[in-house]
Symmetry: C2
Subunit: 208 residues, 2 copies
Amino acid sequence: LLSEKISERLIIYKFILQRHKSKNNINIFSHQIAEITGNTASQVRRDLMDVGYSGNQKTGYNIDNLISVIQEIIAPNHTINLVIIGVGNLGKAILRYYSDLSPKYSIVACFDTNKDLIGQYIFHSKCYHINELINIVKNNEVNTGIITVPAAEAQNAADKLIESGIKGIINFAPVRIKTPEDIYIEQIDFSIAVEKVTYFARRFKDAL
Amino acid sequence: LLSEKISERLIIYKFILQRHKSKNNINIFSHQIAEITGNTASQVRRDLMDVGYSGNQKTGYNIDNLISVIQEIIAPNHTINLVIIGVGNLGKAILRYYSDLSPKYSIVACFDTNKDLIGQYIFHSKCYHINELINIVKNNEVNTGIITVPAAEAQNAADKLIESGIKGIINFAPVRIKTPEDIYIEQIDFSIAVEKVTYFARRFKDAL
DNA sequence: ACATGTGAAATCGTTCACAGCT
DNA sequence: AGCTGTGAACGATTTCACATGT
């Protein structure tokens, strides 16, 4: 099992390689990956070493091959099914993103309590009442749930996801959710990010 | 200057203490803060030690006092001015959040290229054409900029922010932005978060 | 008894430096 | 000559364990 840091960097490498590929480059060197992603060349090499991937000392790494090796580590074969709870502005932004994409990651259903939304398709995902969550998740092999409800409802949404058997949660609500040990949760709280960035921005400004 | 890890945890402590306060508790122990935030008690004590804060061995830490000490470290005195570029679904979600809040953090202007939005107020922030960004930022002591434009326009938005003198950037576009050394940037990419969480969710499931 | 504050140890993550290959 | 692969050094972060205070 990879560490969080390494898995995150590998995913970033994959993203930038997919972008790089379109300019018909076949191979890439560790220092080029480093340049684009803002890491050091030895960190890139170390990361690839950690997953047992080898390049060529003359030509570097084969882009297509490396993409598919990382892809295979992160998400082997079939489609990954997601659900999203909360179809507000943020929920819609995420639904829109995954409707464009090739269906490696697919939002199979979205949930809300708003009667005007239930039964509608929002960017190709059907909207259900949140009470139907447990049944739909159980019938669809859903891997992870995304929470984009207001802060007050986030813990309840998480509890429903956990009850349905989901092991991965991404929480965008600006509140800390409590989960058992066997759930992997990523809390993306822009209000915390704003405070952190303003803190460092001020320090960077003062350093002049 | 605090490390990223410590500053982030301190901000989280502040958030949960503000919430805890309303239940009229005056004091709190390190193990309680640890419980709520999902850290260990000794990490909480170490963090507070690192900023020179002392509690009481009988009663723990005074909540109000601790909140204001952290507040003073992260953002002393006056309001922090923010701008946001891109008034789509995600931009609106963030604008909505900061319109509710007490004006410690305030989005003083938003920017877009959509003619229907320019001149309008979106959740109390006036929308301008992106070409006016540099002037408005320079005249308003803006601390950090938030990027919520589509991927293709994110680098351009960042370049404009940097040209205007901003030192802190939060980028929500699913693309890696390049910035000079003296800019503090936080890249919040939910597409990377989704891949990472699905990876760990699968591993957690397999562990059963 | 039970909490804080904190050296010291342990763990985790990154970088260095260079052998080996092409 | 310039790259990869990697042991070893380094640095950062977390945890341990306990002296000290109430």
